[in-house]
């Protein structure tokens, strides 16, 4: 950076980069391929968009990691900005789920709309028994929230080995959660297109599952970076962000469990299968 010598501020003047334009190209390609698929085109129509998207992720975040490892760019002021920025991103994610919870309550508890359902689950829907697999998944996610915190505390005390181990355990727990959810989906007593109940159920839990997948990948990258020695006990913004994201995903699940699985099945008067 030519201007490094002249600058008297602690901020990171990022070099020009082709990745934002590539990312935009991927969004355009993905959108057009997706619409083609929705209107009769082949599924591989979305493949070019996804390929470009993953390439963007890889190259862009590779550059961020390199800038971090260079040591001079990510000052404490920059790291503070990154932390605040990530928390704001999580806030926007909360509002994304807000929309799906609204859809659920609009259908199940008609406070504003008198026209909506009065019986929930609707006639003919056999929901999941909340204290079965959903409760097991709750325990898995809560445990993973604890293990990622153990990893963080260990690292703050300087124990990298322990941090790597417990981060790895968290990744495995995330993968187990996803496997359980896949099993659950494949044994649902209602089809995806069977009306408003499956719509709200699959949209809310499905997007949550996607976020678990993203968070697991994020933690996996942190696991590899920690083994490589990218982080120090005083400076590990990437890991902090992953841990915060993980806790966010955790809290969303608690709401899903209590609201959709537990409260949402209380009106069920039939008998559970299996």
């Amino acid at each position: 950076m030519a201007s490094t010598a002249a600058k008297s501020h602690p901020y990171h003047m990022v070099d020009p980069s082709p990745w934002p334009a590539l990312g935009t190209l991927s969004a355009l390609t993905l959108a057009i391929g997706g619409i083609w698929y929705m209107h009769g085109g082949p599924l591989w129509g979305v493949a070019p968009g996804f390929l470009l998207l993953f390439a963007t992720f890889y190259f862009w975040w590779r550059d961020v990691v390199r800038e971090s490892r260079a040591g001079v760019f990510h000052t404490e002021a920059v790291n503070h900005g990154l932390r605040v920025g990530f928390l704001l991103f999580i806030a926007s994610e909360v509002m994304f789920f807000f929309a799906f919870f609204w859809a659920f309550f609009n259908a199940s508890a008609p406070l504003i709309n008198s026209a909506a359902h009065v019986k929930w689950p609707p006639e003919g829907i056999v929901p999941f028994y909340a204290w079965g697999l959903p409760f097991l998944n709750t325990l898995i996610l809560l445990t993973s929230g604890a293990t990622v915190t153990v990893a963080h505390h260990a690292f703050r005390l300087g124990d990298r080995e322990k941090m790597v181990f417990w981060t790895g355990v968290t990744v495995v727990l995330g993968a187990i959660f996803l496997a359980c959810q896949a099993f659950e989906y494949s044994h649902a007593a209602f089809g995806f297109k069977d009306g408003i109940y499956p719509s709200t159920f699959f949209m809310a839990t499905g997007f949550h599952g996607f976020h678990v997948f993203v968070g697991t990948c994020f933690l996996l990258v942190c696991f590899l970076r920690a083994r490589r020695g990218d982080f120090t006990p005083n400076k590990h913004v990437g890991f902090e962000a992953a841990a915060w994201y993980w806790h966010f995903v955790d809290v969303v699940w608690l709401f899903l469990f209590v609201v959709i699985y537990l409260w949402g099945s209380m009106g069920f008067t039939g008998t559970y299968g299996h």
Binding site: S3, H9, W102, F192, Y197
Partner: protein, 547 residues
């Protein structure tokens, strides 16, 4: 000399030139310029659509739009383009990018690379929206995209899907941009630039960014459900499957009402800077002005169903949403009276930006007064979906925002390009545009009171007179718009050189301390803001050079 300093500054840089300078940019000024160019292109497209609408409505009967669905497509695209690709890119992406870092003494935005993708995603959204109008039947849904009209049964082609993804992509860009602005403002203020000394334009962008951050994801969720309803067999808005079309309206307006404040809040900030500069006085009631914007932002999240008075929501809900909406008149009143009090006793110069600021105040008061009328659930029963509503929101939000954009352009163009606009021509442009929009929209109040519905290409003969007047106003507005593009061309081609501070003692914010045009990098040495006595230097902390 200021110019020499700019050259010396630029010499040790190695930023790319040619197309890479723009496509790969991590510079807040270049990105801001691209936003403004995008906005000016989109304004031509969206403006031509409104011109077609007014031509069709000039006389009773069908003039030239024989496909009435195409008329609906024009209305839809006009709304989308003006909201998402004209006003937002210019005010937030354009002037916000340019002047938030300059005004707070920061060297750039917090995340320069993310800043770039915010812009390009907006441009990609514009491309997708244009595609939506030409692929398939075109979306004839209005910008509100209500199901069941927007469902697969009534829009079977890919148009609405293109529209949905256009908003998804542009919305993602806006969310990233919002994060960028908030972190920049929280984290990168120069020493001494406390929150309570920030210029009001910075405050306005901060509040706007929070609204974007919290409102847009709700739209994204609603759009996702519409997309899956249309293409993957869910039933969120489908009554046949137990869904509820009103869910869309709730979610859309939970986003949509903050969205109209997203459009007008940056205008508040711009007008405050201009009025203070040309009255040569600090803004009256600085803290009240800042927190009025904050409270407008907060209350804006709990009034959404005043767009839904006619949907059958309960009487208690209508009473609540009426009262909550009327409360917004309080902070907006604080803003209006504080602008007037700023002017009071000032030595006012009626340069083009100030003309536009005063034009803004007139338009905003007009639209605000009809807003208080429409806020009443009972009265709205009669006025809902009439031209009274069209007149209201064009005054209060659309044209008011355009006035702030024109004002900002005249105010800052010298700083951005180093060229000053031609003052005489600019004043002529103002008066043509001001007369044009008022002749265009004022008669629409009468049409609405007489019951003329919106979004219909034909009308009974009884509405002919005022419609003709309105279309004449549209012609004058068009002339004013084209004149503006000529002023732009004239300024860039042969405008005289702009001084660092062309406005004199009234212009006290930090952007006037750097040369014109602002060099590629500014504030590389952080300015230090001297602390004035409390209550005197609010928003106008005078900079002194750092040693």
């Amino acid at each position: 000399m200021a110019h020499g300093a700019a050259v010396a500054h630029g010499e040790h840089e190695h930023h790319p030139t040619g197309w890479k300078r723009w496509v790969y940019s991590t510079n807040h000024k270049d990105i801001g310029t691209m936003y403004i160019v995008l906005s000016m292109i989109a304004a031509l497209v969206g403006g031509l659509m409104s011109w077609a609408i007014r031509l069709e409505l000039a006389e009773p009967g069908i003039q030239f739009i024989h496909d009435t669905h195409f008329y609906n497509v024009l209305v839809t695209a006009h709304g989308f383009i003006m909201v998402f690709f004209v006003v937002m890119p210019a005010m937030i992406g354009g002037f916000g990018n340019w002047f938030v870092p300059l005004m707070i003494g920061a060297p750039d935005m917090a995340f320069p690379r993310m800043n770039n993708i915010s812009f390009w995603l907006t441009a990609a959204g514009f491309i997708l929206l244009m595609l939506s109008a030409v692929v398939g039947e075109g979306p004839g849904t209005g910008w509100t995209v209500y199901p069941p009209l927007s469902s697969i049964a009534f829009h079977p082609g890919p148009s609405v899907d293109f529209g949905i993804l256009a908003l998804h992509v542009a919305g993602a860009g806006s969310i990233l941009g919002a994060i960028n602005f908030i972190v920049t403002i929280f984290n990168m203020r120069a020493p001494g630039m406390t929150m309570h000394r920030m210029p009001l334009f910075v405050w306005s962008i901060l509040v706007t960014a929070f609204l974007l951050l919290l409102a847009l994801p709700v739209l994204a969720g609603a759009l996702t459900m519409l997309l899956t309803d249309r293409n993957f067999g869910t039933h969120f808005y489908e009554v046949a499957g137990g869904g509820d079309p009103l869910l869309w309206q709730h979610l859309f307006w939970f986003f949509g009402h903050p969205e109209v404040y997203i459009i007008i809040l940056p205008a508040f900030g711009i007008i405050s800077q201009i009025v203070s500069t040309f009255a040569k006085k600090p803004v009256f009631g600085y803290l009240g002005m800042a927190y009025a914007m904050v409270s407008i932002g907060v209350v804006g999240f709990v009034v959404w169903a005043h767009h839904m008075f006619m949907t059958g929501i309960g009487v208690n809900a209508r009473a609540y949403f009426t009262v909550a909406t009327l409360i917004i008149a309080v902070p907006t009143g604080i803003k209006i009276f504080s602008w007037l009090a700023t002017m009071w006793g000032g030595s006012i110069e009626f340069k083009a930006p100030m003309l536009y600021a005063m034009g803004f105040i007139w338009l905003f008061v007009m639209g605000g007064v009809t807003g208080v009328v429409l806020a009443n659930g009972g009265i709205d029963t009669a006025f809902h979906d009439t031209y009274y509503v069209v007149a209201h929101f064009h005054y209060v939000m659309a044209i008011a925002a355009i006035f702030a954009m024109f004002g900002a352009w005249y105010y800052w163009i010298g700083k951005m390009t180093g060229r000053q606009y031609p003052e005489g021509l600019a004043r002529v442009q103002f008066w043509v545009f001001f007369i044009g929009v008022n002749v265009l929209f004022f008669p629409q109040h009468f049409l609405g009171l007489a019951g003329m519905p919106r979004r219909i290409p034909d009308y009974p003969d009884v509405y002919a007179g005022w419609n003709f007047v309105s279309s004449i106003g549209a012609a004058i507005t068009m002339a004013g718009t084209l004149l503006f593009y000529y002023v732009v061309f004239h300024t860039l081609a042969s405008g005289r050189k702009a001084a660092s501070n062309p406005w004199g003692e009234g212009a006290t914010t930090l952007e006037w301390t750097v040369p014109s045009p602002a060099p590629f990098h500014t504030h590389e040495e952080m300015p230090v803001i001297a602390g004035g006595g409390h209550g005197h230097s609010h928003g106008h902390g005078m900079p002194r050079p750092a040693e």
